[in-house]
Symmetry: C2
Subunit: 81 residues, 2 copies
């Protein structure tokens, strides 16, 4: 059943790529919630620390990737707000 968790983690991580690319391209952040990306980026940072502490590579790698994508969206929201 590990495979189901792997698919789930891959999808939720990869999903932030189209949003990041769209926001870079369109510079349209009016509909994006600053609250969401502030809280989400903090949460993903905590996930990364957690993955590091418990030495879980899938959690660590998935959250480093998600952090980079979500942090980029957060910075673009702050820039174009």
């Amino acid at each position: 059943m590990e495979i189901f968790g792997t698919i789930a983690a891959t999808l939720t991580t990869v999903s932030f790529l189209p949003q990041t690319l769209k926001t870079i391209k369109d510079k349209d952040t009016s509909g994006i919630s600053l609250g969401m990306y502030s809280i989400f980026t903090t949460g993903v940072f905590c996930w990364t620390v957690y993955g590091f502490i418990i030495s879980d590579m899938p959690i660590l790698i998935a959250n480093i990737v998600t952090f980079i994508l979500a942090f980029t969206i957060l910075m673009l929201k702050l820039k174009y707000k």
Copy 2:
């Protein structure tokens, strides 16, 4: 170290609430990526199934809540696109 994972899960789940409320209120979905919410909602659904299969209540509950919020955003994106 469980507490760190709990904080992380709570933050990443709760973060979708301000986005959902903002989108319901503003009806502004132009900057929101359909690709992101399509893939993300599918991924969170997989997480929910995974949590159910391995009988992990925190994964199950966190992902049911996230699914409701993300699915609402996806439906609003389709409605106001």
